[in-house]
């Protein structure tokens, strides 16, 4: 009788402990998912900030003037996106319109 009671009690305790362990594992996984989501948000935001900064540094508004005046050194890309040469260089045709053509 005592043995049976002990066995049932042990089983109940075992089930309860297993349940607690599973619950703990679920919570840990939840925490990990939340953490990953947070990290993803941070990385995404960081990506947006860096992209924005890169775009700001390379805006045509800030580069075009110095490029046309020859103040910025031009380095041609090794693999240009377009291979057809510009017949008139972008910064070589600076005379204003109105000259006879």
């Amino acid at each position: 009788m005592f043995f049976r009671f002990g066995a049932v009690l042990s089983l109940i305790v075992l089930v309860a402990l297993t349940g607690t362990a599973i619950e703990k594992q679920i919570l840990q996984l939840k925490r990990a998912i939340t953490h990953q989501q947070y990290r993803l948000d941070v990385l995404l935001d960081s990506h947006v900030r860096l992209r924005l900064e890169a775009q700001r540094l390379g805006t045509p508004a800030s580069l075009l003037g110095p490029l046309e005046r020859g103040e910025l050194p031009l380095e041609r890309p090794t693999k240009p996106r377009r291979t057809d040469a510009r017949q008139i260089p972008a910064n070589a045709l600076n005379q204003p319109s109105g000259t006879p053509g």
Binding site: K30, T34, D41, L44, D45, V48, R49, R51, L52, Q55, R56, T59, P60, A61, L64, R82, D84, R86, Q87, I88, P89, A90, L93, Q95, P96, S97, G98, T99, P100, G101
Partner: protein
């Protein structure tokens, strides 16, 4: 004596006991009744209330989509930022907190103190929204009392190109709602869909758990890719700045369009504003004048009438008109030309921009055909570009036209147009007679828009359109009123326009003119079309479109042609070089 007292107590004791038992019994009865009321009668109501107090639905904002130019350059993007709020009900020393915050956030301590004190019972009060990183760090370092303040995540819109295409892009206000331009027109596309999640709070309102039920992840807004090219846009913006400095007009606008597909490559307006600092914008700078300013097109309208007349067989390419030596009576009205022209060919009527020649063409065509021509080229109705605030212009119903209209309409009077309508009509001539719907959003964004863009209206025959471009409009630039638009290496076609300003009551404003110039190149196969409209230039009394607007339009066109690698004519380059050598000799 003591016996009497004992007897009396013996009588009273059961009475008192019964009274106490009754009172306690009643107390239990009341408690039981209350329990029944709470747990049974009003159970659902209180259960809902308890859940509401414990659970909170938190909205997770969606990141709005980006706006890009046709090359993928960023025009607008979104950064996650923090906004600071206070809980005034938990602040005992408003002055102290206000002074500390003001030193970090650059606010007035007096105003902030007043704000906190005035809302002392409230649980929420915005202090400053969309803080910079430095401000967030500064606020953290203040170590303000716990529970009396907090940050909320919000999104801040950034416009990395600054003033470039400000009116086209528009902006997002403090609450994230699109105002003006693409931001307003594509608000639902850009905005995305906010998510929601349920959180459990403790009795102090602190979040203790994110609940699993009914979670909805936010859906980020979609990107919108425009037909604009920031470099071409910048050329237009720079030229408008130059026009503003040189001629000091009230306003001006410029459009660059690809006549083959209706893509708007640039659309600029002055005065303008920086969408990153909207608080500094003047009221006049918000308006996108390329679609929301109407004016009489003047002579820039003449090619449409001539082409329609030719197409209908009313006019012949080789015929001539006598321009009455600069003075022509039409009913009670006497028309004048700038110069005393005699016999002018049809080409020269456009090249010299003779009003008398056009009035005679008007007499030949009659009001009905003139109205058909204007309607066919899209005047009097919106172009349908994907921008809010576009005006349809003014084209009065035919029944309201008079004999006066017969002379006025052919020279671009009695009709009002937006710059976009005008350049769209010219694009129809440049592409062989097809009136396209101009577009500012690249078609892959939305198939229905793409389908609408492909719908065209046939205006005049390809042959007629080509003749107008290759002969009269080309000669306008080579030897006519638009000589200042010549570009070395390219055959350019164009048309000047000068018209009086319209007043709000329907008449004209004396002495105020709108100068415009539309030009395109190469004549052989037009790839680009540019329009510059200058409203009321105020330097030296100069108002002529060929002088005020033509150089700016040609400069934009020249730079855009070179940038887009549209090949010049080798022979023309050599001719230009020889011409320079001759000059040097």
């Amino acid at each position: 004596m003591s016996n009497i007292q004992n007897n009396r107590e013996a009588v009273l004791h059961p009475v008192r006991a019964r009274l106490v038992v009754t009172i306690i019994g009643l107390g239990w009865l009341v408690l039981s009744a209350r329990l029944i009321q709470l747990q049974w009668v009003q159970r659902d109501k209180f259960a809902v209330k308890a859940e509401q107090q414990r659970e909170l639905v938190e909205e997770t904002p969606a990141r709005p989509g980006d706006i890009l130019d046709r090359q993928g350059r960023l025009l607008a993007t979104t950064l996650a930022t923090r906004s600071l709020y206070l809980v005034p009900a938990k602040i005992s020393e408003p002055r102290q907190i206000a002074e500390a915050l003001s030193s970090v956030l650059g606010l007035s301590p007096e105003v902030l103190t007043e704000k906190i004190a005035g809302n002392s019972q409230r649980q929420f009060l915005w202090v400053k929204r969309r803080l910079t990183e430095a401000e967030v760090t500064g606020v953290r370092k203040l170590m303000l009392p716990k529970g009396a303040w907090g940050f909320r995540d919000e999104y801040r819109r950034e416009y990395p190109q600054g003033v470039v295409a400000a009116q086209v892009i528009g902006l997002r206000d403090i609450d994230g709602t699109g105002r003006g331009g693409i931001e307003e027109r594509f608000d639902s596309t850009l905005r995305g869909q906010s998510g929601k999640r349920y959180v459990a709070r403790d009795s102090r309102g602190h979040v203790i758990e994110i609940l699993d039920k009914d979670q909805q992840a936010p859906v980020a807004g979609q990107n919108v890719r425009l037909t604009l090219d920031v470099v071409v846009q910048l050329y237009a913006e720079r030229e408008l700045d130059q026009v503003m400095t040189e001629w000091q007009p009230e306003s001006c606008s410029a459009i660059v369009i690809d006549p083959k597909n209706g893509d708007v490559l640039a659309m600029a307006t002055r005065p303008t504003f920086d969408p990153n600092r909207p608080q500094e914008a003047s009221p006049e700078s918000w308006k996108n004048r390329a679609i929301a300013d109407i004016y009489e097109p003047g002579s820039t309208f003449k090619p449409m009438i001539v082409s329609y007349g030719l197409d209908q067989g009313v006019l012949q390419r080789d015929e001539s008109f006598h321009c009455q030596n600069g003075e022509y009576r039409m009913g009670r009205r006497v028309l004048h030309d700038h110069h005393r022209y005699g016999l002018l060919s049809l080409t020269d009527v456009l090249v010299k921009s003779s009003n008398i020649g056009m009035a005679k063409i008007g007499e030949r065509m009659g009001n009905e055909q003139l109205e058909k021509a204007a309607t066919l080229f899209g005047f009097g109705r919106k172009t349908g570009i994907e921008l809010p605030g576009e005006l349809p212009g003014i084209l009065r119903p035919l029944k309201k036209w008079t004999s006066y209209s017969t002379g006025s309409i052919p020279m671009g009077h009695e009709i009002a147009t937006t710059p976009l309508q005008l350049i769209t009509a010219h694009a129809a001539l440049a592409n062989g007679g097809e009136l396209l719907r101009p577009r500012i959003v690249l078609p892959d964004q939305d198939d229905s828009l793409s389908a609408m863009s492909r719908m065209t209206i046939s205006t005049v025959s390809r042959d007629t359109a080509q003749w107008i471009i290759e002969h009269p409009m080309r000669e306008v630039v080579e030897r006519g009123t638009g000589k200042k638009a010549r570009i070395p290496g390219y055959h350019v076609f164009g048309k000047t326009g000068t018209a009086q300003c319209l007043s709000a009551d329907g008449g004209y404003v004396h002495g105020k003119y709108i100068s415009s110039f539309v030009c395109g190149a190469p004549v052989e196969s037009p790839r680009l079309l540019t329009l510059v409209v200058v409203n009321q230039s105020s330097v030296g009394g100069e108002t002529f479109g060929g002088k005020v607007a033509a150089p700016a339009a040609a400069n934009i066109l020249r730079q855009a042609l070179v940038y887009l690698r549209i090949s010049p004519d080798d022979q023309l380059i050599r001719a230009a070089a020889n011409w320079k050598d001759d000059e040097l000799e």
